[in-house]
């Protein structure tokens, strides 16, 4: 078994993704079937955000990947040799 930090990071990733999946599933699938005066609606944002927030997350992810690639390519540029 992996030790220490590896296990902690791995398990926290698993727990985080389970929580995210459960919250998003309830938000998208279960909430429309629940009466609008039920107390459960208090814990969830309006349903428009269930489309907007993943969209923003995807944009941020693409920005991070692009920035990372740009930094790496900038660091690896070789100045042209003058013969």
């Amino acid at each position: 078994m992996a030790t220490g930090v590896d296990q902690a990071v791995g398990m926290s990733l698993v727990v985080f993704s389970l929580l995210l999946f459960t919250y998003y599933s309830v938000w998208v699938i279960i909430l429309p079937f629940v009466d609008s005066d039920h107390v459960l609606h208090k814990y969830f944002l309006p349903r428009e955000y269930s489309v907007i927030l993943p969209g923003i997350a995807a944009v941020i992810l693409l920005l991070c990947i692009g920035a990372f690639t740009a930094v790496i390519m900038w660091k690896n540029r070789k100045p042209k040799k003058v013969d």
């Binding site: 078994m1 992996a2 030790t3 590896d6 296990q7 990071v9 791995g10 398990m11 926290s12 990733l13 698993v14 985080f16 993704s17 389970l18 995210l20 999946f21 998003y24 599933s25 998208v28 699938i29 429309p32 079937f33 349903r47 269930s50 489309v51 993943p54």
Partner: protein, 92 residues
């Protein structure tokens, strides 16, 4: 029929079913709640696939085995190789 054509056919059937339900193209007058649930389905599948990937990566990071014997053996071989190269004149 190639695999690509099969997959495209399957995907287009699913997309057609989704479009029918969420945009009411056949005027079936489904209850509003079913349309509300069906409409974000592609995004929901994408998010759940992302969660599944994250969970798989996390689980495999947590259960990755250390191999102590192989690590020791490798360190020994590194030492041997360094000695050998030092004798042959390579400066470390």
């Amino acid at each position: 029929m190639t695999k690509l054509v099969e997959w495209l056919f399957g995907v287009s059937v699913v997309v057609a079913a989704w479009a029918l339900v969420s945009f009411d193209l056949l005027d079936l007058s489904l209850p509003q709640t079913y349309r509300e649930v069906a409409w974000p389905m592609p995004l929901y599948l994408l998010v759940s696939f992302g969660c599944y990937s994250l969970a798989t990566v996390g689980y495999r990071v947590a259960t990755f085995n250390d191999c102590d014997e192989a690590a020791k053996e490798l360190q020994g071989q590194i030492k041997e190789a360094k000695e050998d190269l030092r004798k042959k004149g390579l400066k470390m």
